[in-house]
């Protein structure tokens, strides 16, 4: 990577990409929901997410008795900012990424870890029982799945012999990591669903706790939180495309188009999972993580190491 956005342009660029990603999530979620429900899909289906958003904008903000107001506002902002911070290190072509971070994969790992803080604070600051319980439940699960990410990302960095994402993409020339390290992408998608608290891993905002961390949140704040989750999903999709699907590499089309196509493909899979897979039980998922997925992630790392030595 030789070119980067100017300091002023970096936030604008990442915001534009994330807003587009959030729009895609909204539309795909609406269409997939209608298809799974067995209802017809028409042009009006595309308008539903925007109508919902418009309603949220005119609604009255909610409050509770003595919430931690500063944290309640900062948590969604921090969560969205983390999605943007993660996105800036994604290389969009062999010569351009939004920000110049040599150890991009380490930066991304930091972003992932901090999502747990943002989600917990969001539940905690409402000063209400159900959001608080959801926040604690999320932290218990978050600690379990984040370790998976560490192993699969290091495994992807080994053949590149670099922590820079552009080097990791270059190392996939001719053979993408999704083939070379087949265990990596599925595990990374588990982390994506967990950190975006989405679909089967929607343990922070589940209906079984009246909406979880978002149970007391109405109007604009609810819209912002939902948008931040969709933005996080987008950032994860872009990172999955970079680390496992060969990033900008591909025939005929210009390099950035390949990144967009691969990101969209992952984003659709992640979004649609919400309508087809039931929410996991927190306790059983924690056990699954420590006893099965973590050893699998370690195997992924070991295979990557042996591959390099061979």
């Amino acid at each position: 990577v030789t070119a980067h956005a100017d300091a002023w342009a970096a936030p604008v660029l990442s915001a534009v990409v994330l807003v587009m990603g959030v729009s895609v999530v909204g539309v795909v979620d609406g269409v997939a929901g209608r298809v799974v429900a067995g209802q017809g899909v028409g042009w009006s289906t595309l308008a539903v997410p925007w109508q919902r958003a418009a309603l949220a904008l005119v609604q009255q903000p909610s409050t509770t008795e003595r919430p931690d107001r500063v944290m309640w506002v900062l948590a969604p902002a921090a969560y969205a900012a983390l999605a943007a911070a993660g996105l800036v290190v994604v290389p969009w072509s062999s010569t351009f990424s939004i920000a110049d971070v040599r150890a991009g994969i380490v930066w991304w790992g930091t972003v992932e870890a901090l999502t747990v803080v943002a989600i917990f604070v969001h539940g905690w600051s409402a000063n209400s029982h159900q959001p608080l319980l959801a926040a604690y439940r999320f932290v218990a699960v978050g600690l379990s799945y984040l370790l998976l990410s560490m192993f699969v990302l290091i495994a992807a960095a080994i053949p590149a012999e670099s922590l820079a994402l552009s080097e990791i993409v270059s190392s996939q020339h001719g053979l993408w990591n999704v083939i070379r390290q087949p265990l990596g992408l599925p595990l990374f998608l588990v982390v994506a669903l967990g950190a975006s608290t989405w679909g089967p891993l929607d343990l922070a905002d589940g209906a079984d706790l009246g909406g979880g961390t978002v149970a007391e949140v109405a109007a604009r704040a609810q819209l912002v939180w939902w948008g931040a989750r969709a933005a996080m999903l987008t950032a994860f999709a872009a990172m999955a495309a970079t680390v496992f699907l060969g990033g900008w590499q591909g025939p005929l089309l210009p390099e950035p188009v390949w990144v967009v196509v691969k990101t969209l493909a992952v984003l659709v899979v992640l979004t649609v999972s919400r309508h087809l897979v039931a929410r996991v039980r927190a306790e059983r998922f924690v056990i699954l993580c420590w006893l099965v997925l973590l050893p699998v992630a370690f195997a992924d790392l070991a295979i990557a190491g042996v591959e390099v030595l061979r």
Binding site: A32, G33, R34, V35, V36, A37, G38, Q39, L55, V58, Q59, Q60, P61, S62, E65, H129, L133, Y136, R137, A140, G199, P200, D202, G206, A207, D208, L209, G210, G211, V214, A215, E216, V217, A218, A219, Q222, R274, H275, L276, V277, A278, R279, V280, R281, A282, E283, R284
Partner: protein, 333 residues
């Protein structure tokens, strides 16, 4: 729409999930319309008033009742749009009320309660909240967490929480008082609020296998909402409403089986040798199956030691109903 199910409502309101114009939400904060279904006497009405004031402005209320219900409505329903009749009429009223009051006029129902704490501040103890140090006590009548004795070698905080009566997954008019440690139920008591006397919303339905099958699909709708599958819940509700063909039913069963909900419910809520998974499995394989009457004395002990989400699945899987319970002459306590 946030649905509050009162006396005589049964599971009928879950059929709202079938309407593509309507989205059911698990908290009043996300709703623009409060749909109150059935009777709300006494404490149930007081709970409804509190829920009413939690909907963000602009909001409106729809009361689904029957014409010969002469019970006194709570304050939240005094200016509500009243609808009698079947689910189609209810959906039309909800959509009309939302369009007219919420999106066109932007004028909503006023609060019915004063914005004050529900209890006096009980000021005593080190920091005036009535506990020890910075923990415990019941300031404003709301219990705070307090360190409890060891569990698994950890002295965890113990938090007393009351869930219901309108939480998703709970039967109508049921409250659960639970003591939780790290989300795990240590002690639970089920409390059935008075639902009064009167006709039920589904009284015009014929009885028999077809009605039993509809009830099962409504129950399945609730189970799918609880399991985080709103689109499949909508599909189940549509089948309940339209009594769709067997091909549609087979497709629903297939999607539910593939969703992993059966696996998620395995080992949850075992009462009498039967767990929530088996109840769900039988509901899928036999459309007219009805769970045997649950002995309510055994429910509360069965919740102890479970994660709260699992406790809720346990309660929903037993398919309890406030009206039926009363006529059976049993209490849930």
């Amino acid at each position: 729409v946030f649905v509050a199910r009162g006396g005589g409502s049964g599971l009928l309101p879950l059929e709202l999930a079938a309407d593509e114009r309507i989205s059911l939400v698990p908290t009043p904060r996300h709703a623009s319309v409060l749909l109150a279904a059935g009777r709300f006497p006494g404490a149930l009405g007081a709970a409804l008033d509190r829920v009413h004031d939690q909907l963000p402005h602009p909001r409106c209320t729809v009361w689904w009742t029957v014409d010969d219900d002469d019970s006194e409505p709570p304050a939240a329903l005094e200016r509500a749009a009243t609808v009698l009749g079947d689910i189609e009429a209810v959906c039309a009223t909800v959509v009309h009320a939302h369009r007219a009051r919420v999106t066109e006029d932007l004028v909503g129902d006023a609060d019915v309660l004063a914005d004050v704490p529900p209890h006096e501040f009980e000021g005593r103890g080190d920091h005036g909240q009535g506990g020890e140090g910075m923990m415990g006590g019941v300031p404003f009548g709301r219990p705070m967490a307090m360190t409890a004795e060891d569990r698994d070698g950890l002295a965890l905080d113990r938090l007393d929480v009351t869930f219901g009566p309108f939480l998703w997954g709970l039967p109508n008019a049921v409250r659960v008082h639970a003591s939780l440690q790290g989300g795990v139920v240590q002690d639970a008591q089920l409390d059935l609020l008075d639902v009064g006397d009167g006709p039920t919303l589904d009284r015009l339905e014929t009885i028999g296998d077809a009605a039993a099958a509809r009830h099962r699909l409504r129950w399945l709708t609730g189970a799918l909402l609880l399991g985080g599958l709103p689109a499949l819940a909508s599909r189940a509700a549509r089948l309940a409403r339209a009594s769709g063909g067997s091909a549609d039913r087979a497709r629903l069963d297939e999607l539910v089986r593939r969703s992993g909900l059966l696996a998620a419910w395995r080992g949850v809520g075992t009462i009498g040798g039967e767990d929530a998974r088996m109840r769900l499995e039988r509901s899928l394989s036999d459309p007219a199956w009805t769970p045997g009457p649950a002995t309510f004395e055994r429910i509360a002990p069965a919740l102890v030691g479970q994660d709260w989400a699992d406790a809720l699945v346990t309660i929903w899987s037993l398919d309890l109903d406030a009206d039926r319970t009363r006529s059976d002459g049993r209490t849930m306590r």
